[in-house]
């Protein structure tokens, strides 16, 4: 009987502790997602030493927009993709989608060129033979209808295999 009581109490104590853990997780601060996330691909295989393309997919948070690669105002920050020079993969160029025309409700006269939702950048690359963990970067500046967030650079991690 005594052993049974100890066993029951031990189980109850574990259950109580599990609840504490659950509560800690639930009461943690709600982390805001980034304005733009890189979706895919995680890995591409291309012929080594030859010009190839890879389509990089991104998603912008709901209710937000970012400037296209060719914003209409010189002060606005364009969206740009970069790949570090010494990564074994050379970025020869990138084809950006055309921006959609957008106006802020409060100022319909000013036309902006932006991306919203999902967009694809086609990168022209030349990869050396071998496996390269490329840490590319997307630089952008996001706004909603009323305010803008500071410019940001997110990592674009791709495993490029040159064969």
């Amino acid at each position: 009987m005594r052993n049974a009581a100890i066993l029951v109490m031990t189980i109850a104590a574990i259950a109580v502790q599990a609840q504490f853990a659950l509560q800690d997780k639930a009461s943690g601060s709600f982390e805001k997602g980034p304005s733009v996330v890189y979706l895919f691909p995680e890995q591409v295989t291309v012929p080594a030493g030859k010009a190839s393309t890879m389509a990089l997919h991104f998603r912008i948070g709901q209710g937000l927009h970012i400037n296209s690669h060719t914003p209409k105002d010189a002060y606005l920050i364009p969206t740009t993709l970069s790949i570090p020079a010494a990564s074994g993969v050379r970025l020869d160029g990138a084809t950006y989608p055309a921006g959609a025309e957008f106006t802020l409700p409060v100022d319909p006269s000013t036309k902006l060129s932006v991306y919203t939702g999902e967009f694809v950048i086609t990168a022209q690359i030349v990869a050396e033979r071998g496996n390269h963990l490329v840490q590319g970067a997307l630089h952008y500046q996001a706004c909603d209808n009323n305010a803008c967030m500071p410019p940001k650079t997110i990592p674009v991690a791709i495993d490029v295999i040159g064969k």
């Binding site: 009987m1 005594r2 009581a5 029951v8 109490m9 109850a12 259950a15 109580v16 609840q19 659950l22 509560q23 639930a26 009461s27 709600f30 304005s35 948070g61 709901q62 209710g63 937000l64 105002d73 002060y75 606005l76 920050i77 802020l104 409060v106 100022d107 000013t110 902006l112 500046q141 706004c143 909603d144 209808n145 009323n146 305010a147 803008c148 967030m149 500071p150 410019p151």
Partner: protein, 211 residues
């Protein structure tokens, strides 16, 4: 008797444990549902209406505005403390910020209208500066100066706002404005683009014209 007492305690303990577990689970589900609803809602950077300020701004309200000293476009050092006795709008903005560009003409008008009553705007630029590269720094300053000239900003334009963003709540989005009364206290704040009327109302509050 002794055995019965132990069994009773164990049963009571278990019942209490289950009851508490049920309550904790209910709380967790409630929070998870709220989180899911927040994720599904369109992302909003701003809570422009007064009384709905971001949590990082709220602690600044009705307290002395954090003092700062920054350089203006001509290299002159400007401190908020120098404006004690005046109502001041500390406006954080950037050249790349579209909504800032929309509100600037309103600010220019309001500054000219209320300056005779002892009102000034300090426009703190949040544009990045390459402080370690003289050539780049000079170009960046020129760009900000050109923007200020284009927008006919008649008030001091201060540089390197990033240096003071922390005491002003981190400045996650622009424009962000703090309305400081004649005693140096923050009486109102706005995050994001609001309206000229709302800005004017807050200027009047800072001037002591409205309670």
């Amino acid at each position: 008797m002794k055995r019965n007492t132990v069994v009773l305690f164990v049963v009571l303990f278990l019942l209490a444990g289950f009851g508490w577990a049920g309550w904790a689970n209910w709380e967790y589900r409630k929070q998870a549902a709220a989180r899911a609803a927040a994720m599904a809602a369109p992302a909003e950077l701003v809570m422009a209406a007064e009384g709905d300020l971001p949590p990082s701004i709220v602690p600044l309200m009705h307290k002395p505005a954090p003092d700062f000293t920054l350089e203006d476009l001509s290299g002159r050092k400007v401190s908020l403390a120098n404006y004690k006795g005046k109502a001041v709008l500390v406006n954080f903005w950037a050249t790349w910020c579209g909504p800032c560009k929309i509100e600037t003409p309103w600010l220019v008008d309001l500054r000219n209208q209320y300056a005779p009553q002892g009102f000034e705007i300090l426009a703190v630029s949040e544009d990045d500066l390459d402080l370690g590269d003289k050539q780049k720094l000079s170009e960046e300053k020129q760009e900000i100066a050109h923007f200020a000239q284009q927008m006919h900003m008649p008030y001091p334009v201060l540089l390197d706002g990033d240096a003071i963003s922390k005491p002003y709540g981190g400045l996650d989005s622009l424009p962000t404005s703090f309305f400081v009364d004649r005693n140096g206290n923050v009486v109102a704040a706005q995050v994001g683009l609001t309206s000229k009327d709302e800005i004017e109302g807050n200027i009047r509050k800072a001037l002591g014209a409205v309670k």
